[in-house]
Subunit: 411 residues, 2 copies
């Protein structure tokens, strides 16, 4: 393949101009990790500066403009998730939100004794569920998923019986990028009387999502990947309207109180979604989510998805031509999110060499995965071409062999 | 009293220069709410700008410098709290942290049936405890506290028996500013076999704190008041070293895992403090806490406390001379934190008129409290004098009478 083919794709890309809407990294860097930490939008830098200015100038009076951010930003994000108004809230971390929703779902299914998830679910999800199961003496049934194909509806259906209170998976697999059948699995769970919580961290902003249409009960996700909200920005949660009056959060906080500033003697949960708020909302992070979501909405999810498919398609074609002969295998299915998994027995050492010697930033995931994240809004087709040229050269030279074999900290 | 007396106090104030270390609010504004949302330090504005730059430039590689912030900033904050290293963690919100610690404390006292707190504790604290008690079928014993004197050791001792698992209060009362006898109440709780959680939101950075020396088990607090970390900045938690291996958090997250990036199949809590982390830490907020804490440490807590006492002392003297004759009562005891409560039947309408007509920003707290927060690092003695002149004039003119009686949103 010639570089001109990638250049042609960029020339014809309706989203091409968006790459200039991000702060430039160091010259020559190729960033394949927008699905771990998305790049910094120019608008977000300006917005953060403005919000810091509001703090300095307006002081406590600034809350008049900040206090509704969890719901207003949630509504804007909801539009990208196929969620009608007043069902998405931006707050806390994905971990804490999953804990809140899963805990409430278990409360709503008393007498049932099991939670169903899968061996390939993201670690924090598995740990939250393990902790909840431990404290309530429940079983966690882990469906064994194929490392490439991910969660399959038929495998789940076989494990979801009348004893199951909660079914919870990731929409897009954090390693392979496999896309689960959310609507089908949700329907099967409902047929068995269980509730579902979906984790959309690797899906939001990357693949089509229709939470309302799919009948999803509850969902969570982070904002620092395709939503570009920055390191540790607040996460989100979705509670379908039909569950908003019956489910009760485990953490009763003052921002979830019906009449917060009356500061009354007893907790009276807010009538709608805001009962899921707990403490004081993180204003800077919320502003960053707002900007990231606005950019995705402006670009349009259909166009983003089409480009994501084309980007991972180009990467797969380059893998077949250059990297398969060098011992790399493909770790993603044909239908996938916006990242591609390459597998190699020395993936960890390769990832370090790529970052330190080739100015290409991928992600390593145990045991043998190089994750190539191709955020549609900020990645050019020539980035994929140039990055794969560098990976090929590095693999050919064997320069990675002098790196430690011990995985370090890469998030 | 003459203004020159306040000017003299400023001239002799060793901390006077610190007021210039904050971003100027609008000309003429007098800010009496640094105990709700602290002002923006110039250094913090610069640090936030730098961290946003790190995100843009370093992208995911920035985590090498960010990932330890919860513990490094926690250690720096711990030094202000009388806590030895590796016992304070900056993470989540005060509400979520209180939930985590109280839940673990209850787990550690199985068979006991009650939680002791007080009617005057901050709403989010009372709500968290109410929720935990509800889910575990426990009783919440609310000690009735005097609205001015706050929590009294003898009143608590009378309620702490062998059935009590957990005793939890605020160190400094959010309304009156009364300072609880942390060491005494903690000793009484321990004598009964209970654990304690203290909320230091209105204490940290304002009054002397000696968590280790006082034998405190667990504590939480926010960072957006005297620590000046900004709206919704992450909170902190303290777990005494002796409890770090036996207490288990309720929320099991990947940042609390012993070997996080091995992403192993089961949750193995980190050996020390970091098991209390849950999701991905909020980097911008952590950087802001770091700067705020560094400034307080540099100013010195003894000097800060001395100035805080002098500031509320001046405010009380001005109240006696000008405001008591106009129907204001004092709502704080002689020994108090760094805020002074003034009580007036029309406190809410007065607070609105002060903000909108007199450019003085106090805080309203139900039912009848004007909270005058005097953050020692950023408040001048002449601010107190000038602000009280304005309050006096407003009360004399009766201009507040045309404001709505319904409390709006003031956080």
């Amino acid at each position: 393949m010639q570089r001109s083919q990638a250049e042609d794709l960029d020339r014809d890309d309706p989203l091409a101009a968006w790459a200039d809407e991000f702060v430039a990294a160091e010259a020559g860097l190729i960033y394949f990790d927008g699905n771990s930490l998305g790049r910094l939008p120019l608008r977000t830098r300006a917005r953060l500066d403005a919000v810091v200015g509001e703090w300095g100038r307006d002081l406590v009076r600034g809350w008049a403009g900040w206090i509704d951010l969890p719901t207003t930003v949630g509504d804007r994000l909801g539009a990208l998730l196929g969620a009608g108004a007043a069902q998405v809230l931006v707050c806390d971390s994905t971990t804490v939100n999953l804990y809140k929703l899963a805990s409430a779902a278990l409360d709503a299914r008393p007498g049932r004794t099991a939670i169903v998830t899968d061996t390939g679910n993201f670690p924090t999800d598995r740990y939250v569920l393990e902790g909840l199961a431990r404290s309530r003496s429940l079983d966690v049934i882990q469906v064994v998923t194929d490392p490439i194909a991910g969660v399959r509806r038929e495998d789940v259906a076989a494990r979801v019986g009348a004893e199951v209170a909660l079914v919870t998976f990731s929409h897009v697999d954090y390693r392979s990028g496999a896309i689960a059948d959310v609507a089908g699995i949700t329907a099967d769970a409902h047929a068995a009387g269980a509730l579902v919580v979906w984790d959309l961290s690797h899906a939001a902003g990357a693949v089509p999502v229709a939470l309302d249409e799919w009948g999803v009960d509850l969902a969570v996700g982070c904002t620092y990947k395709y939503l570009n909200a920055g390191p540790g920005a607040p996460a989100w949660l979705y509670v379908a309207r039909r569950h908003q009056s019956d489910l009760v959060p485990p953490i009763w906080g003052w921002f979830g109180q019906a009449d917060q500033f009356a500061m009354g003697p007893r907790f009276e949960p807010a009538a709608g979604l805001t009962r899921w708020l707990a403490g004081t909302p993180p204003v800077l992070g919320l502003a960053a989510v707002d900007e990231g979501v606005a950019m995705l909405a402006e670009a349009g999810l259909d166009a983003l998805r089409a480009k994501g498919v084309a980007l991972t398609g180009l990467a797969e074609a380059l893998w077949a031509e250059w990297l398969e002969p060098l011992g790399f295998a493909i770790g993603s299915p044909p239908i996938r999110g916006s990242h591609l998994a390459l597998r190699h027995p020395e993936a960890y050492r390769l990832s370090r060499a790529m970052i330190e010697e080739a100015a290409v930033v991928p992600d390593f995931r145990p045991p043998d995965i190089l994750r190539i994240g191709l955020a549609p809004l900020s990645t050019r087709f020539v980035d994929v071409w140039d990055g794969f040229v560098r990976i090929r050269r590095l693999a050919e030279t064997g320069a990675w062999q002098r790196y430690d074999i011990e995985p370090g900290r890469v998030t």
